[in-house]
């Protein structure tokens, strides 16, 4: 038998327990039984229409054992436990229209309600702080390079995520304010044993419309940004990453296509699990690029000049835009043909030579391509060819040069394992010097 389920926006908040219960009663009468409830949505399963009495309860039965004891007591009293919502409230239903209410002491009920409300309110507030902080980082308040590596927004997708953070933060703030106002009036009424204030249907419809609009905006914005990035070449995954993410996406889509009854839902879970694993793998394949471990070069190390590395190179100071990041001052080493091959991200006389050690050939290929694309975008109409091949890109590191007595010498490198990097770097520099 086909199980039909649907997820809907919950039109009421936990501060409106009577309306919430009435909503579940209405859904039950229409043939939809609750399965689970999140903070903003609830999942229902199709059944025959049933007239049931529902009750939203806030008794703090924390832990599995306490919850079982409490629900057993409620079952004895004629109330069947249906679900525990993400917000902490419990939903019960009863076939008996005259079953004694779960809460008969208004003061105790108000106290339980308070505990449940504040527990979740502080949760949301913490989340809001976290998201706010991350958004600030992403907006480039801290422009140190390591932060840009971790949270930079060189792509439209990342920029859209920042915008969405701001939208979600606004939504959470508005929701928190509404919850707080609802809490104050509900608690006052509960303490007095009075009827809770009624909510206008207009306000409820507006609330649901806003939530739906936010979800659609987020989806369209993210999908649009991703398409733009792929079209504009801002996101250029290696083919291994495309493959891994493709398998992941297919797995997740396949999970939705699987019927719940197949192997008791195991087929669906397997598809989703494998899909998530491959998606994560696709993202993680680029992880080794972000390992940064400094390697120092001492006075006994050979002095290698820019001239030795790149015959005909010139040193320039310039201000440029890189991708979507703001303008900043940097030093560049120009090879003949005006191809910038290094830039300064620190202050003073230090310049850095851009090269990479990639963990896999796929990533190396992507890096080489990205580097060439960057140069091409900076130097319109100029033919750009990289002066290293895939083999070199597999292990070349990012190293810094210091101007000493008018000559640029190697100071340190900051990718990869320190000892391994140092040896490899010196070896490769020797190779580059030998190259015509």
């Amino acid at each position: 038998m086909k199980v039909e389920e649907k997820r809907v926006w919950l039109p009421y908040r936990m501060t409106e327990p009577e309306e919430l219960a009435a909503y579940f009663e209405k859904m039950s009468a229409e043939g939809w039984q609750p399965v689970s409830a999140g903070r903003y949505t609830a999942k229902f399963r199709k059944s025959r229409p049933r007239t049931l009495r529902f009750c939203v309860d806030f008794t703090p039965a924390s832990g599995e054992e306490a919850l079982q004891r409490y629900t057993a007591l409620c079952a004895d009293a004629g109330w069947r436990f249906r679900l525990k919502a993400r917000d902490g409230w419990l939903l019960f239903s009863s076939k008996k229209p005259d079953a004694a209410p779960l809460q008969t002491d208004p003061k105790l009920a108000a106290r339980s309600f308070s505990r449940c409300f504040w527990g979740n309110f502080t949760d949301s507030f913490f989340l809001l702080l976290l998201w706010g902080g991350w958004s600030l980082l992403d907006l480039g308040i801290n422009r140190r390079e390591i932060v840009r590596y971790l949270s930079g927004w060189d792509t439209m997708l990342e920029l859209c995520v920042v915008l969405l953070f701001a939208l979600v933060a606004l939504f959470l703030l508005g929701n928190a304010a509404g919850n707080l106002a609802g809490y104050v009036s509900a608690r006052r009424a509960m303490k007095d044993g009075a009827r809770l204030p009624e909510i206008s249907q207009k306000a409820v419809r507006r609330r649901v419309r806003w939530r739906r609009a936010l979800a659609w905006t987020a989806g369209i914005l993210l999908a649009g940004a991703l398409c733009y990035d792929i079209w504009a070449g801002n996101v250029r995954p290696a083919w291994e990453q495309w493959l891994s993410m493709g398998i992941g996406a297919a797995g997740i889509a396949g999970g939705f296509a699987c019927k719940r009854r197949w192997l008791e839902g195991l087929a669906r879970k397997f598809c989703w699990g494998a899909g998530a694993l491959f998606l994560a793998l696709g993202v993680l394949l680029s992880y080794p690029l972000y390992r940064m471990e400094p390697v120092s070069f001492g006075p006994d190390d050979p002095v290698i000049t820019v001239e030795m590395l790149l015959p005909g190179a010139e040193l320039h100071q310039d201000e440029r835009e890189y991708g979507h990041t703001p303008l900043y001052e940097r030093w560049e080493v120009y090879q003949s043909g005006s191809v910038p091959v290094s830039e300064n991200l620190a202050e003073g006389e230090t310049v850095s030579f851009l090269a990479y050690r990639a963990a896999t050939e796929g990533i190396a290929r992507r890096l080489a391509w990205e580097e060439a694309e960057t140069f091409r975008s900076l130097l319109h109409g100029t033919a750009v060819e990289l002066d290293w091949g895939i083999d070199e890109a597999l292990w070349i590191g990012d190293f810094y040069l210091v101007l000493r007595d008018g000559e640029a010498v190697i100071a340190y490198t900051d990718f990869g394992e320190p000892e391994e990097r140092r040896e490899l770097l010196l070896e490769t520099l020797a190779k580059i010097r030998r190259a015509p």
Partner: protein, 109 residues
């Protein structure tokens, strides 16, 4: 509910302590109270659970046995003292009320 409130028990608390002079589980106590008061006092399952948890924490009740997921509670010596104190207080209240009523009647006559 603050700690001080236990000095004067609410009606559900009082009846719960009365019910627990015989070891019972929560639902048994609910039924006992309802029938003992002729349906005047009904304690909901949520309220009963909160009271039992509170009394257990305050060592007024203690678990005596378990029947599946049901816990059977009984009064502790502290609970008995609390109940006796409350009964004495209520007796005094009633005695005061009767005495004052009698005095008022005498004054009128």
């Amino acid at each position: 509910m603050s700690r001080e409130q236990l000095q004067n028990l609410t009606e559900p608390m009082y009846y719960l302590l009365l019910a627990m002079r015989t070891p019972r589980h929560g639902y048994d106590a609910m039924q006992f109270i309802q029938s003992a008061t002729g349906g005047r006092v009904r304690i909901g399952a949520g309220t009963m659970y909160a009271l039992l948890s509170r009394f257990e924490k305050e060592k007024i009740l203690t678990p005596a046995a378990e029947e599946g997921r049901r816990k059977i509670y009984r009064l502790t010596p502290k609970g008995e003292a609390l109940l006796r104190g409350e009964m004495d207080r209520l007796r005094m209240l009633l005695a005061d009320a009767e005495r004052m009523e009698k005095e008022a009647d005498e004054h009128e006559s």
